[in-house]
């Protein structure tokens, strides 16, 4: 649905995007992660038709986005820096969007405002708190009935309850309407529960782009404890021939991250008759640390 091919963008000699590639499948949720200054907002501004690339292609559903009203009609965008008209309330903004987006759903708008009860539809949006403004922007974006939603730090500034509610509504849209979502964040933890695919950017380049499933497939996190007389040889970087990505010992219990499929490693360790052998879900943070092996210092910033 979204395809970015070898896109380069330079601002006054500074390469903000450097031969960037990105691919988002239709109906999927793509998490764009990276430290500050990685180029996330820049690529999002390209995807929403604000910027024009120096070279490369930016396609949504096979069409170039820049200056293309037909494609822009199908995109809902929540920027990091929100903009609302002076003295306008929710209803004013909704009417404005209604005049521009053919598919704006007034019924949904009214319905969403009954779900997200914290929004006062008659209050001037600019007078609302940052979190409330985010919610307002989200409601309006949801009503555009777009095929693609591009969200720049969408839940930044929201309380945990509201975050969950927002994500839940978004996931509902993905399931029911097969909306394609690209969401950026500088925090991996934010995205691990919602994304199908994650792309990590740094210094204008895509360091890694992979589906969460495929990443989790080859890495296993285990908690194990062995009898003293029947334990495998555990070195700093290997256990019984398997590559060890992490090794932490607390008393007699080891927490290990092993580069191997879960079934295979469990079968192998069973022969030592372990006292404890439990698999623990991996966090995105752990996957990326071990995938990238700490080569890229920028990664530290997205998981801290």
């Amino acid at each position: 649905m979204i395809k970015v091919e070898n896109v380069t963008k330079t601002f006054d000699g500074f390469k903000a995007l450097d031969e960037l590639n990105l691919n988002v499948e239709k109906g999927s949720v793509y998490g764009l992660v990276g430290p500050n200054g990685a180029g996330k907002s820049t690529i999002i501004r390209h995807l929403t038709g604000i910027y024009r690339q120096d070279s490369g292609k930016i396609l949504i559903d096979g069409q170039e986005v820049y200056d293309n009203a037909d494609i822009k009609k199908r995109i809902a965008y929540i920027p990091d820096d929100l903009y609302f008209f002076l003295n306008s309330d929710m209803d004013d903004m909704a009417k404005f969007y209604q005049g521009i987006y053919e598919n704006f759903n007034m019924e949904r708008y009214n319905k969403l405002l009954t779900v997200i009860t914290s929004i006062d539809r008659k209050k001037t949006i600019r007078k609302m708190s940052k979190g409330m403004q985010k919610q307002a922007a989200f409601v309006l974006a949801m009503c555009l009935m777009s095929d693609v939603m591009i969200l720049d730090e969408p839940v930044d500034g929201l309380d945990p309850v509201m975050r969950r509610q927002i994500w839940s509504l978004l996931m509902q849209d993905v399931t029911e309407r097969h909306v394609t979502v690209l969401v950026s964040s500088h925090n991996l933890r934010e995205l691990e529960d919602v994304c199908d695919t994650v792309g990590i950017m740094n210094q204008g380049k895509m360091l890694l782009e992979r589906s969460l499933f495929s990443m989790q497939e080859g890495i296993t996190k285990l908690q194990v404890a062995f009898k003293d007389d029947n334990a495998p040889q555990i070195n700093e970087d290997s256990i019984d021939g398997f590559k060890l990505l992490s090794n932490q010992k607390n008393g007699s219990v080891y927490t290990l991250i092993i580069k191997a499929p879960e079934a295979e490693i469990k079968a192998k360790l069973q022969k030592y008759e372990p006292l404890l052998l439990d698999s623990i879900p991996l966090t995105l943070e752990e996957i990326f640390i071990h995938e990238l092996g700490g080569e890229h210092y920028g990664i530290k910033e997205i998981i801290l």
């Binding site: 929403t48 009203a69 037909d70 822009k72 920027p79 820096d81 903009y83 521009i100 987006y101």
Partner: protein, 526 residues
Amino acid sequence: MESKKLSFNGKFVFRETLRHWPFIAAIAAVYLLTVTGLIGMFPYFDSSAENVVGDVIRQLMDVSQAVSFFMSILVADFAFGYLGSKKSHYFYETLPMNRKSMFVNRFVFGYLLLFIPNFFIAVIEFIQIAFISGEAVIMPLVCWLLIIAAENLFWLTFGTLFMVLCGRKLMAAFCYFAFAGLGFMIKLTFAALNSAMFIGFESSFSDGVIIDLGILSPFEFIYKMDYVSDQNFFSISEYYGAGRLVTVFVAFAILLVITYILYNKRKAEKTGDTIVFPFMKYVFSWCFAFVFSVEFVFLTLGLFFYENDGMAHITSIRIFVVIMMIVFSFIGYMISCMIINKKLNVFKNHLKPSLVCAGVLALFIGLYMHDIFGYEKFVPEVQEVASVRVMGAQFNNDLSYFDHNEKKKVSTKEKETVVKLQQIIIDNFDEVIENYKGIQKEEFDYVDPSHNKKYDHYVNVNENMVYIDFILSNDKHVYRDYYIKPSGKLYEELKAFVNENSDVFKPGDAQKNYYFENAKLDEDIK
């Protein structure tokens, strides 16, 4: 492709206009307070439709030109402010509208903000006039509406051009224009205090400078338009009516095309306080330095030389003027760099271009004062002259006041004679220059008979001037004035020439011509 086509979105324009209703109301209120309010204060001795319309339209014209300029600039910021503000820029650029359509829709929206209050006021005035005079007067109001609509278009495009070129740098550019305008106001004030003070550049030798400044200063432009509107507004079919309408509209169309081309060339991502086209920095700096230096040079001259020599003495202090030009244009250029770079420490980096600018501007003014461009010595061909107006000074009856009213048909002989008169002056130009230099020697003690008041060392330069104003067949004015001492070779030559052509230069004819229309009217009444 459909999306590349220019499309007008009525709903978008309507919504945008609607949400700016306070602004529309504010413009309408300005008109209501200044036009209807002021008129309402004065009792009408003669409430005939003609008089009421005259008062209302004149007031409307005066107010609307100033309001049109200021509000159009403000509206340009409303309509295209998103080009200078990142947040709103991102908002508008993501809307499903291509850039061409966005330009058109925003422009129409801006124009509506200006037109709606004007239309509203026209309706109000129609009612007011009808109420006072009991007559339904439509045509003059429609004319006013047409003219102000054209002027709104022009100024809105003017403001839009600045928004496209430099985003919110419009404000800096605006300051520059305001500055030029302020200078003009200062001059006007001083001129009002003593018109002789400015004779040196209000008239002959630096006339070109002030005309050039007129182009740079919208305030002066307004002042001039105001003048012509007062004189000729009702004659919609004549030059300053329909002709003016066409002129303003053509100027708007040209400006709009330039603005639109530049808008499309503007990189979409350029926002904030960015001068989008680098050449604009130089244009801005040079213009600023020019206006700044000219204003300050003449202001300084006024302050230092008025008491001693009078401004008419300017021709003898050319070197001083050139030196002052170097100093003030250098300072002006530096100030413009400070505005552009938003910092005070610009001296080192901009030293070279500042010096170049100062040198070039001083050279220009120097050459100008030496009449290198032949401005002073230009004499039109008789065939080119459509009409002519001459005003001789009143110091001697031989060169008495004579005036060919523009409305009177001027014969070829009259044209030829005036061209010859000017040629005599040009042939004795050195004496004209000497007359300027020696103007202070003409001081005398003067008793004002109306106030019975004595003025020591009174210099009444205006009475020693000869004004020649040609209207060419292409509607251009060639206006010159020359200081003629009531003694000397030139004076004698002119005197002889006037005597020779006494059938053209009839003393007392001026009165007749000047009051030509009124006299006719009086006869009709009789």
